[in-house]
Symmetry: C2
Subunit: 230 residues, 2 copies
């Protein structure tokens, strides 16, 4: 963990730090989400043996905007050749590096109720660059049980077991009233990224990023379209 | 259901149709998501007894962009008075109408495994304007059991029970290999909006909107920030 006493610029970067000069605070989460979508689309093309693609082809095929693609990528360097397009394999590699998914990211799940159990077994959380490596719960009936690839451990062990397992991202799947204590424990464990499913607001903590999952927003998006005739 | 033989413009609008002249196809899902966030923020202000708010105050308080707020709202009419701001109660009412959440929207869950069970009990899916009214599964061990507020019914009954329950939105929480058949059955049941958690691509169907939930995109957003020093 970077010491809070280090002057700016002198912080140890650690294994995870990229010296790519990109200020993560200057890049909006929406841009990052679009980069994820581009990466996914390009990987599909690569699997199909496609070597070159233009922003227009990419846009048409995956229902994206070609102007947005060019604008987003231009933020991070020079890619593609006018009239030829992008080299698919090169761009996949570059985007994976940019997104930090060119290595395995280990996940710890706190709260092994129905949601935590579903996430522990979720293919998307156990393939590619993600891997569930730890699961924690308070319930004595769950502790010691195998769920997906992990053996459930008591939440009292988060502070030691989360770092030992190499977990980089924690997933909070506890009830609202248990969220604050679990978030505290994750802080003591040195976890710097939290995906929060609990309907609770977590206080900001320097050096830790919290992403709140709001499933209701998807229902509201569907409601908007339902409220109107086709 | 509007008949596919009706010429454009002559379709029956039904209970759900809004004659507000807004073409839902012309409004991006991102705009709809921002409207949801504004509505949530304004409801908080209303609960706190705040009657007027400017776009700047709203932006500062909820970490939004005031230019974006004004631009988004301007798409849907004239709100607010220069120098005074928006009337909180009025804007709440208007946005709820615009989003189609000024009435109860009933949800049917298909697949009552861990994820379906978690969603059936999820506070956000059982409060405010949303209510889980039906749950379906193929597993004889689950059929007839009460989960959250519903009794699990066999998936073979989707076509009759989904319309009877008044469900407007279906939530697909089945494994990938079961998604296509469940989606078909929902079509026969007249369901026009599907929130899809299954890692499967569902073919477009006229008159039906599918929103795919991609939880991995959140992990990739966290990975981007983890890959860089604070």
């Amino acid at each position: 963990m970077p010491s809070s006493l280090s002057p700016p610029g002198s912080r140890p970067r650690g294994r995870a730090g990229r010296a790519d000069g990109i200020d993560p605070g200057a890049v909006s989460p929406l841009t990052v989400n679009r980069l994820s979508i581009y990466l996914r689309s390009l990987r599909q093309l690569r699997e199909q043996g496609i070597e070159k693609v233009s922003s227009q082809q990419l846009a048409r095929r995956f229902h994206l905007s070609s102007t947005q693609i060019r604008k987003d990528l231009a933020q991070f360097g020079e890619f593609g050749t006018r009239g030829v397009g992008y080299d698919v394999a090169d761009l996949v590699e570059h985007l994976a590096g940019l997104l930090g998914v060119d290595r395995v990211l280990r996940l710890a799940i706190v709260g092994m109720g129905n949601l935590g159990t579903a996430l522990a077994r979720f293919p998307a959380f156990n393939s590619g660059n993600f891997q569930v490596v730890a699961g924690f719960d308070n319930d004595p009936a769950k502790i010691g049980r195998r769920i997906g690839a992990v053996i459930v451990r008591p939440t009292s062990e988060i502070a030691t077991l989360a770092p030992e397992s190499g977990a980089a991202i924690a997933i909070l799947a506890v009830p609202a009233e248990a969220a604050a204590a679990a978030y505290e424990a994750l802080g003591r464990a040195g976890i710097r990224a939290v995906l929060n499913f609990a309907p609770a607001t977590l206080p900001p903590r320097p050096g830790c990023r919290v992403k709140n999952v709001d499933l209701r927003i998807h229902l509201e998006e569907l409601a908007f379209f339902l409220a109107r005739p086709e």
